[in-house]
Amino acid sequence: MAIDIASKARPGDATGERPWWVRPGVHTGVAGAAVGYILGHLLGNFLSSGYAQNALSDSNDVPIVLGYALAVLGWLAGLGVFNDLFRMVLGKPLPEVTHKNGTGLAKYFRYTLDHKVVGIQYLFGMIGYFLTGGLFAMAIRSELLSPSYHLMGPNEYLMVVGEHGTMMMMMMSSVILGPFGQYFGPILIGSKRVAFPRLEALGFWLTPAAYVLLLSGILFGGFPTGWTGYEPLATQAKQGMDAYYFAFGLMGVSMILAGFNMIVTVINYRAPGMRWSRLPMFVWSMFTVSFLQVLSVPVLVGACYMGLMDRTFQTALFSNQLGGSSFLYEDLFWFFGHPEVYILALPGFGIISEVVSVFCRKPLFGYKVAAAGMLGVGILSFFVWQHHLFDSGINPDMRPLFMLTTELISIPTGFIFLVGMGTFWKAKIRFSIPMLFALAFYFNFLIGGISGVFLSDVPADTTEHGSFFVMAHFHYTIMGGLIFAFMAGVYYWLPKMTGIKLNERLGRIHFWTMFIFFNTTFLPLFALGLMGMPRRVFEYARNLETLNDWVSISAFCLGVSILIFLINFVMSMLFWREPEVGNPWRARSLEWQLSSPPPPENFERVPVILAGSYDYGVKDALPVAELHPPAGVIVGAYAGTGAGPNGTEV
């Protein structure tokens, strides 16, 4: 939002555009959503009155689910998502898709088809998600200050736990692919645009809807299942459960759309010379993650859909008593759920690889190993999901196999460490803030990864499964890994995205408080889990109180650290506005060769890529790209092949 605050130009001044309030935007979207919800609710009442009572929860969920569905459609229609579709149906010509930034702030509140605008939208959206989820975490830790309930009743506690977990999981899957993937993916491959700008923008505009829908569960008393939504507890739950299924499913659709767009963009829109062997690691990570999303998330959407069917129209897909299977839900959920955790881990690997190379002033060690590591993790992640179900009562024949695959996945994960460590060998290390976060990433992810090996071993897992040990493990990999990488990305790329840099001193305070308090918060949780504290309980053994109090106080300090980041972010963006227009990190990669922020359409001409972006310390290294190739060069290169670089204007 801070991006164009200095710009005095207003839409409509010169171009004759209509003023913002009569054009589709957030306000018309909200109106559409309200109308849609009312219509859906009425329709649901009409369809289901009298017969479709959910017998387990004694509630009628059809009006709510239909209300949600039409509210989402109304929101999208109000935003103008379907306008081009209607134009096509009516046979009217489509307006030209431009990737030029408009002027003013209004473009950030609209269905804008510019990947750089979408990236900024994602950045603010995901920070909003993260802060909301973080507040829920603070509430959880407040409740855990004592071993019996004092702040919240059991129902409120589970509501907060569920909202925290689900909100964070929905956010984490888009927190890097959203802001940085959409913004820098096309730039890093030398493209002026993404393949499917409409899908991309739609992917973003589903996330605010999912956010509101998930929170709307609170109005119905929340959902008691945590972020996993296990059946048949979910069928027994009150109407807040619909919010979980609908919002999570909706976020799933957003992830699929973002994934498709990224895959096609990376395959088809690379500039001439951008061979696969020159692809920046960050793009490799986005590419792999997109495949994981496209292949695994549909299973989640299906599971959420089936869960909603169980709740509304009384199918019994997940009810053991009626011929369904609660194991089916567990399998579907974790078939998505395990690739999901690598959807969270891989973008971190990508950002960290970029940052480490720049601040070590060295080429990335073992480029092919790094790419192979990502692909290996991605492929293996589809074959490990039953390690979440070692104690579940599923037939145990496959347990040795799933133990093996789970442990195998630490080989490609180890590649990432090899690449990092090799790059540090005889380097010239600069401790900029992104580099500090990268180092912290290795530290946290090491602990997270090693604790994962403990969980893969069936006998050890029998003690650790479902306890605070698991909780500590995945907070180390997700918060300690992904969020630290995200922060590295923010400090590294924000000057490029906005032309403004964050305050250095506050940034360092933010890093050190976050690193220290993250570890003092989550390291003791391993011990708590091993001492027998299950997840998602507020009644725990008296002798664990001291340790829990320590964790809670650390968690509040961690919250303060995030607050410092927020203050830095808001003050730097809105008030201090310290410009940073050059190449402050002296980075080679393509995005840093452009102005800050990059010009409309990124490049005047499609660049010709001459070298990889990691050639630090190489004498007479070629620049990474020729940004102004003479006209006709690219056409000449493609002459006679019958092909041309798609979507590029030569």
Binding site: P232, L233, Q321, P363, Y540
Partner: protein, 316 residues
């Protein structure tokens, strides 16, 4: 100044640190590692955690040591804005790394499999048809002294645990008594949603699924009390779903169990309870028992004295 041999230095420091850490883990920490050694399965879990810690410590130390060394030795001097040496990779290092990690990982997988199969599933729930069975004589009535397998059914419901002993007339108890040195088969099931039976000190964990008989094995090796908690989120009072168990000598167990059986027989409770089965459908059960006082006597029978009425909250 001659470039020092970093690799050798690192290796020497690492070796000393890793050796010290492993010795400390094995000799000082191992006896205190959870879940203790109260039963066969707990012992194996403790052993596995110790072995994994011994494997993990050198790896963690290696990585942290390396990064710490790099930060100290290879940080750029304040006035130096040059680049590092352009090293794009090193085939030997990469091959050693891949071979090393593969070796560790594969040996861990073999180790885990042996530790899973040897102790009959290592206390984890094996589902209705267990593959790795614990040795013991299957008998209709349990007697001390031999190697009779004790059958215990664990029934979870929101939010309580009930234990049923088929070899003692199908009597029920809300405290889990177990005899020492006796192979035990747990049949874990649920009446409503998914719970998880976690006898922490015994090292047993098995999900309680409705309509599913989930089997787990253990053999208690020490006298004393233990805790049972629910380990799978099952609704608002999930955290309060715990009770206690006790390991007693075989003769004490025989006396206790026979005593409870006699009392419940005399009270007419056993006759009122549904026949012992591996799973129960509460809908059907309440029809079977609608004419008698199953919910009311002593407050302890019929899975903690209470089966749900048909529509709340189990099935339509």
């Amino acid at each position: 100044m001659r470039e020092p041999r970093h690799g050798l230095r690192l290796l020497a420091i690492w070796f000393v640190l890793a050796l010290v850490a492993d010795l400390l883990i094995w000799f000082a920490w191992y006896p205190h590692l959870p879940p203790g050694d109260m039963s066969e399965s707990a012992k194996h879990q403790q052993f596995d955690i110790a072995v994994l810690a011994v494997m993990a410590a050198p790896v963690v130390i290696a990585v942290l040591l390396y990064f710490g060394y790099a930060i100290v030795v290879w940080r750029a001097k304040p006035d130096d804005d040059g680049d590092g040496e352009p090293i794009y990779g090193n085939t030997k290092v990469q091959l050693i790394w891949i071979a090393g990690t593969s070796l560790i990982v594969l040996s861990l997988a073999v180790f885990g499999t042996v530790e899973l199969i040897g102790p009959a599933g290592a206390g984890a729930g094996e589902g209705p048809s267990p593959v790795w069975k614990l040795a013991g004589t299957q008998t209709a009535s349990w007697t001390p002294g031999g190697n009779d397998m004790l059958q215990v059914q664990v029934i979870g419901q929101q939010w309580d645990w009930t234990y049923r002993y088929p070899q003692f007339g199908g009597m029920e108890s809300s405290t889990l008594y177990l005899p020492l040195d006796t192979p035990v088969t747990f049949h874990v099931t649920s009446l409503d949603v998914i719970h998880s039976f976690w006898a922490y000190q015994l090292g047993v964990k098995a999900d309680a699924n409705p309509q599913v008989d989930n089997v787990a094995y253990t053999t208690a090796k020490q006298l004393g009390g233990f805790t049972v908690r629910c380990n799978e989120l099952c609704g608002i009072w999930h955290g309060a779903m715990y009770n206690y168990g006790k390991v007693v000598s075989q003769t004490d167990f025989q006396t206790w169990a026979a005593g409870v059986q006699d009392k419940e027989q005399a009270d007419g409770l056993i006759a009122d309870l549904p026949a012992y089965a591996l799973t129960y459908d509460p809908t059907v059960l309440s029809e079977l028992t609608s004419s008698n006082n199953i919910n009311k006597v002593d407050g302890i029978t019929g899975a903690a004295g209470y089966y749900y009425p048909p529509s709340d909250p189990v099935t339509p």
